[in-house]
Amino acid sequence: MVLQAAGSLCFPAGFVNSFTLWACVAAPFALLWDNGVSRNMATESIPVETPVDDELELVTRAKQGDMTSFSALLRRYEGKIFRLAMNITQNREDAEDVLQESFLKAYEHLDQFLGNSKFYTWIVRIAVNQALMKLRKRRSDRAVSLDEQIDTGEDTVVREIAAWDPDPEQRYSQEELHEILSTAIDELAPIYRTVFTLRDVDGLSTEETAEALDLSVPAVKSRLLRARLQLRDKLTRFFKRKGDDAFAYM
């Protein structure tokens, strides 16, 4: 049951947002890939029984052609990448395509990963580009950005102020809680949802999130604040102290 409920956070129901014209995705994509790659495959086999925890070691071995190491990286991140792809494409079929294309690209261009950032940040960046290309294809000739024109000023409005219980989540069963949290996050605009997930759920730093999404650090910060405040607003309905009336800022 718990597993099922966790799944609902990862694979949210369809919720189509309108993406605005913004910037062409082809440019950053070309920067990432058009390097004319040729990989060297190591011919000697590496013992697969050795347990490898260190991510950099896994990457190094994968670069040398050790397929087990690449599979280990894949298993570590496939769930998160699939969730990210769902968050952006809002479509299971597209998300699966994005997932496959991302890991195939990562495998093919592994030697371009220099190890000065986390492997996860690198593959998130690939996946975001793949997902945006998918959206772009779906919307034919329009360029698509994850960053919608969202600066209406209303995003930072705090609508409800009411104190919560000390442990409000304990009022609900695991299933109910998962439903509440995933519904709230699904209602956010894709950019907010993506920034919040990378930063506050996956635990990337602000700088890593900026790198993964090709945004500036201030842009990540402002989107994170809005995502947090919007989620807080949505959760207040469920978590506020019983008997308290909500009030708003004067």
């Binding site: 597993l3 966790a6 799944g7 956070l9 990862c10 694979f11 990989r39 495959m41 397929m67 690449f70 599979s71 894949l74 496939e78 769930g79 998160k80 699939f82 969730r83 699966e96 997932l99 496959q100 890991f103 195939l104 495998y107 093919e108 930072t156 705090v158 102020i161 009411a162 104190a163 919560w164 409000p168 989540e169 809680l177 998962h178 949290l181 996050i185 919040f196 506050d200 759920v201 996956d202 635990g203 602000t206 910060k221 994170l224 604040l225 947090r228 405040l229 989620l231 807080r232 959760l235 207040t236 978590f239 009030f247 800022y249």
Partner: protein, 81 residues
């Protein structure tokens, strides 16, 4: 004293413990003097905490199988060349 708007603008950094020195002192003072911002700060902190608690993210078995198959095909092709 900071306005509520100024406080809100710094809320994320404050919660992430990225604010230092005079700014941090001002923010803490605002929290003591403004019950509204205290509630917003407290409930935003709880919002982050409650989402942090749900990191598990499984992938459907069929999606995983097809991904593995696609990657293995690619690996096999690479070895051939």
């Amino acid at each position: 004293m900071l306005t509520c708007k100024e406080f809100l603008a710094e809320l994320s950094d404050f919660l992430d413990e990225k604010t230092r020195g005079e700014l941090r002192t001002k923010l803490e003072r605002h929290l003591q003097e403004c019950p509204n911002c205290w509630v917003v700060c407290d409930t935003t902190k709880k919002t982050i905490k409650v989402y942090k608690g749900m990191q598990s993210c499984s992938i459907p078995d069929d999606v995983h199988s097809r991904l593995m198959a696609a990657v293995e095909r690619k690996m096999a092709a690479k070895v051939k060349n």
